[in-house]
């Protein structure tokens, strides 16, 4: 096996294992920590795909940002120590059947297709190309995204404002 394949399988084991831990652990705070590991593993997968910039964004925004605000939400709504933070699941069998069915459907669709086995060579600096594409071809979507972020932040502040 090549070094790429070894790294892929290690990351795949970490990613699937931590994802299972996110949905199965009793302690909600531990689930968030497992989610942080899963998101970091995804950043590793992005590195394997030569997407260094996406991996950095993933670590900064996802593993840094989302995990922090989820922990804040847990601190506000539950007690960090004690019984309250433990959570139960319901209808595990039904959920497993539906999730397994969807997985079988997707894998069936993936197997039926012929995909390129080798990656084409990318010319030049990939991060630079991504930046130039965002600022030229997708500039309208980029500006709309800025409006969306502003609206989302104002909405979040409106919802979570203290009563007066």
């Amino acid at each position: 096996m090549t070094a790429d394949a070894v790294a892929f399988w290690c990351l795949a084991v970490v990613l699937v294992g931590s994802a299972l831990a996110v949905v199965l652990t009793k302690n909600l705070f531990h689930a968030v920590l497992w989610l942080a590991l899963a998101l970091t593993g995804t950043a590793g997968v992005f590195l394997l795909l030569d997407a260094e910039f996406i991996a950095a964004v993933q670590l900064l925004l996802y593993a840094g940002g989302i995990v922090t605000i989820v922990v804040f939400a847990i601190v506000v709504t539950e007690r960090l120590v004690g019984e309250r933070i433990s959570q139960t699941s319901r209808r595990i069998a039904g959920g497993a059947v539906v999730a397994g069915g969807v997985l079988a459907l997707i894998l069936n669709a993936v197997r039926g297709q012929v995909f390129p086995a080798a990656r084409p060579e990318m010319v030049g600096d990939l991060t630079r190309t991504v930046g130039e594409t965002v600022m030229t071809r997708f500039v309208l979507a980029f500006e709309l995204l800025a409006v969306l972020m502003l609206a989302a932040l104002m909405g979040a502040i409106y919802f979570a404002r203290p009563d007066d």
């Binding site: 394949a5 892929f8 795949a12 699937v16 994802a19 996110v22 949905v23 909600l28 689930a31 968030v32 989610l35 899963a38 998101l39 995804t42 997968v45 992005f46 795909l49 030569d50 997407a51 910039f53 996406i54 964004v57 996802y62 940002g65 605000i69 989820v70 939400a73 847990i74 506000v76 709504t77 959570q87 699941s89 319901r90 595990i92 959920g95 539906v98 999730a99 997985l103 997707i106 894998l107 993936v110 197997r111 995909f115 390129p116 086995a117 084409p120 060579e121 990318m122 991504v130 594409t133 965002v134 997708f138 980029f142 995204l145 969306l148 972020m149 989302a152 979040a156 919802f159 979570a160």
Partner: protein, 99 residues
């Protein structure tokens, strides 16, 4: 590694997230499952983009990551508001709209 391996990995993570969304009782737990699902979609986008030699997939991933962060901020704000009003974040108890 071929494209198929990445697609399979993303499908597995997506279905684990789906399982979490369907089985968790706690609203924050449901949000964690949604994060997993959105995350696996990003793997698909980057893998397709890389194997077709096009940066569009990576550009879309940047966009979806930003949208996910906005979704998490609004979702958690709603959870905090719900907790303030109903003193619970268990999804089964949030049945205000049930007729």
């Amino acid at each position: 590694m071929g494209l198929q391996a990445y697609l399979t990995l993303a499908a597995i993570v997506f279905c684990i997230g789906l399982f979490g969304v369907m089985t968790r009782r706690n609203t924050i737990g449901i949000l964690l499952g949604i994060e997993l699902m959105l995350n696996s979609v990003n793997i698909n986008l980057v893998a397709f983009g890389r194997y077709s030699g096009d940066v569009t997939g990576m550009v879309f991933t940047v966009f979806t990551i930003c949208i996910t962060v906005a979704e998490a901020a609004v979702g958690l704000a709603i959870v905090i508001l719900l907790f303030r009003v109903r003193r619970t974040v268990t999804a089964d108890h949030l049945d205000l709209l049930r007729g």
